[in-house]
């Protein structure tokens, strides 16, 4: 069999910095590394410009103060930490809040065209958990604008891009740390190695381990898994964000995202009795800043200073749990969600202008006119707060020469991410990772190849195994079983017995993937591609389930039915995942201590 396969020779490249992933974080990292003088390559699984960032709708959070001049980085920092229930790495949240405005303005220098205020400045919109209107946006397609701007910038700079290539292994040695990355060209199935002293992971998230998700096929946890297998650590993996508003019908699009901007622009959530139920779910923690009646909530859209925020704009974990409870109590919509109503709140013209792609999406995919009828919505797996444990200032992982930025990095968002903080995270830490990787590479100036033939041969053999086996397990079947289990057993509400069940299932699937086989050959073979992505999905699923089982409390994106409240002891601890001998182990690590000047920000009462 092997003899028939073409191209067993391995294509070799040398770079200073290799960036894995071409979403917002990867592109921003590559631009920075290039501008610092590093020979830089971008490696991505899809065509350039198709990465998941393109799906981001609402906007980029940055305290530019264009709409509310009283906004500043301290307020943004405070909102972010409180949204993450104080489990965020304070230093990441600080850098993020401080640098986001410059990162947004820079996009404009590169050709981005944001919506404007009457004064001609970048317009900013309201979003859940943000005290002021803070999200720079372009209608409801901000992610597309961000990725296109960065893509065009990277192309203009002449950065090398390896499209439709998957990295299956990070190559390390004891002396240097990172020495390169190994992968294959999806198009031809031929193998390729990038030798490089610095690798930046910007691979996004893990949503494809779940059945109902807003994430695309690319979100198979590659970076999380590659880092873990290379000896790095992951933090906060138990925290998975379920976005409150995914489509629920038709089944074909179940999980597809409905932007939070619908609520930011005035949309409200109602149950089958027509009641705005979010007023019943305001937690003690956010009582002081949340309106407790409809009149005040409605006044807030025009006057933030004298009114409190509507409860529909509580952080996502709160809203998702509330929807879940309403549906469980039998007050759901016909297809098992609740109603999101903007039709009765804003004019058809406003809706089409402010939310054009939502209008389009419902019209095309559900035959629903959102200017006339409410949408049916329910929670969907959207984002993983957990990721590679990094040093905040440099985005460096625990392995020398390895960096991580964007969703694949952990710590920034604590136990729950605020909407709009993802796009700004990509830009702030993408840039930092690019700069650190370039400076690390400059110190190394490696001229001799460090990747050994043995390492390459081993990586190649592992990748070819599913093609050479006959009559084994079907990867599509195993993937479907994993997604069912994660959805049912490691979802929004968790219990000890279900988490244990999930871990048993994962253990059995780990056995079964040893015997995967796929039909066909190496040229653009999706079955083979899935077979190589599956081990990553299983690894991250194991991390999530194990950490979720260990954390005996409820906080942010982790809710335990058997431990329903937050606990102060757990609030001071991070769970760190590492891997040895193919199995994930956990250690408890004290939370980094916030300095006093920042800690005082949490003593003030909010306006």
């Amino acid at each position: 069999m092997a003899a028939e396969l073409p191209g067993l020779a391995i294509e070799k490249h040398f770079y200073d910095v290799v960036v894995v992933g071409a979403g917002g974080a990867g592109l921003r990292a590559a631009i920075e590394a290039h501008e610092q003088g590093a020979r830089t390559a971008i490696v991505c699984k899809s065509l350039l410009g198709k990465a998941h960032t393109v799906m981001a709708e609402g906007g980029i959070a940055a305290s530019m103060g264009n709409v509310y001049p009283e906004d500043n980085w301290q307020v943004h920092f405070r909102d972010t930490m409180r949204g993450g229930k104080m489990l965020n790495h304070w230093r990441m949240a600080q850098l993020h809040a401080q640098e986001a405005p410059d990162r947004v303005r820079e996009l404009e220098d590169w050709g981005a065209l944001f919506d404007r205020t009457p004064a001609g400045l970048i317009s900013q919109r309201d979003f859940g958990g943000h005290r002021f209107a803070r999200l720079a946006h372009v209608g409801d397609r901000t992610g597309l604008e961000l990725i296109r701007t960065l893509q065009q910038r990277a192309v203009q700079l002449g950065i090398d891009v390896f499209m439709e290539c998957t990295v299956t292994k990070l190559l390390t040695d004891d002396e240097h740390g990172m020495v390169g990355a190994f992968g294959y060209r999806r198009e031809s199935g031929e193998f390729i190695v990038w030798q490089s002293p610095a690798v930046i992971l910007a691979t996004g998230g893990i949503g494809k381990s779940y059945k109902v998700t807003s994430n695309s096929w690319e979100y198979s946890g590659d970076g999380h898994s590659l880092a873990l297998k290379a000896g790095a650590t992951l933090v906060n993996m138990e925290f998975v964000q379920f976005h409150p508003t995914g489509m629920v019908w038709p089944l074909s699009v179940k999980g597809l995202l409905i932007t939070e901007s619908v609520r930011g622009e005035g949309g409200v959530l109602k149950n089958s009795e027509g009641k705005r139920f979010m007023f019943d779910y305001i937690p003690e923690y956010f009582k002081a800043e949340t309106a407790d009646n409809e009149a005040e909530a409605d006044r807030w859209y025009d006057d933030h200073s004298n009114n409190r925020r509507p409860p529909e704009l509580l952080p996502r974990d709160e809203v998702a749990r509330a929807i879940n409870s309403e549906v469980k109590a039998g007050r759901g919509s016909p297809h098992g969600g609740v109603f999101l109503d903007i039709a009765s709140r804003r004019t058809a013209e406003d809706i089409k202008r402010r939310l054009p792609s939502m209008y389009h999406q419902f019209k095309e995919l559900a035959e629903v006119d959102i200017t006339k009828e409410p949408m049916e919505v329910g929670p969907t797996c959207h984002y993983v707060m957990g990721g590679v444990e990094v040093e905040p200032d440099t985005a460096a992982a625990k392995i020398r020469g390895l960096y991580a930025a964007g969703e694949v990095a952990g710590g920034m968002h604590g136990s729950n991410r605020l909407g709009g903080n993802s796009l700004s995270d990509l830009l702030v830490f993408g840039r930092r990772a690019g700069a650190s990787a370039a400076s690390h590479a400059a110190e190394q100036k490696a001229t001799t190849p460090r990747v050994t033939d043995e390492a390459l041969a081993a990586a190649r053999t592992a990748a070819l195994a599913p093609l050479e086996r006959q009559g084994g397990e079907n990867p599509y079947t195993i993937h479907a079983e994993l997604q069912e289990s994660m959805n049912a057993l490691v979802g929004i509400i968790r219990t000890e017995s279900e988490l244990q069940q999930a871990l048993d299932k994962i253990a059995s699937l780990k056995q079964r993937i040893q015997n995967l086989s796929v039909e066909g050959k190496r040229r653009y073979n999706p079955g083979w591609h899935l077979a190589l992505d599956l081990p990553n999905m299983l690894t991250v699923s194991e991390c999530i389930a194990k950490a979720a089982l260990e954390r005996h409390e409820s906080r942010g994106g982790h809710t335990r039915d058997d431990h329903p409240t937050p606990s102060p002891e757990w609030g001071a601890l991070n769970l760190i995942c590492s891997e040895a001998d193919g199995s994930v182990s956990l250690t408890r690590q004290p939370l980094p201590q916030m300095p006093d000047d920042l800690a005082t920000l949490f003593k003030e009462t909010p306006a």
Binding site: L47, Q152, W217, H360, L365, N525
Partner: protein
Amino acid sequence: MTYQAKLRVWRGDAEGGGLRDYTVEVNEGEVVLDIIHRLQATQAGDLAVRWNCKAGKCGSCSAEINGRPRLLCLTRMGDFDENEVVTITPMRTFPVIRDLVTDVSYNYEKAASIPGFVPREKGPDGVHRMQQVDVERSQEFRKCIECFLCQDVCHVVRDHEDNKKVYAGPRFLMRIAELDMHPLDNLDRRKVAQENFGLGMCNITKCCSEVCPEGIHITDNALIPLKERVVDRKYDPLTWLGAKIGRRPHP
């Protein structure tokens, strides 16, 4: 609600191939991409198809359905009669890699050859000020998801391989128009549009606008205005005189 659909899918690669018949289950509300995925999972594990968002936002799953360029994720099975055979073929203008996947590198080469954005200086307060009405013209073109269906349908390249060298196609002529209408861009792009990217070869049949899944008025709002500006420049008597007496570059 569930029925068995008759599908005819092109299978093969650069060396050759042909249409193959399949029968696949369809449920209410499903789109063609769902059916392709079911086919992959149950009957043809190695069937090659590009896709990402499955929401009409990334422009990856472009193909031809019953001969018409469309996104697989935005084409509902409900649009077809249950007894109708639905034929799915790769985009014809680009070389096939395998099954429904084509080599779209022509588009990336054209994108790389367009002179980049050149912004004017910021205002005295260090920011760019622009009015909403001024950004909206280019914003329409920036809605483009780069599905390349307009490139696929454009007859200038669809049946004339040689034209690819000298013609950028609607997507990238629109990109030039976008930069030309960008309130901050400082470069005059009219000459290159005509001379390097083949603007003159477009004869405004509007096929591109018809297949655009984003509903962008490519011809009316981008290509025709750009053509008009090129003409203005060419026939502007002052430009002509300036060129004659050597004070300005030749138009």
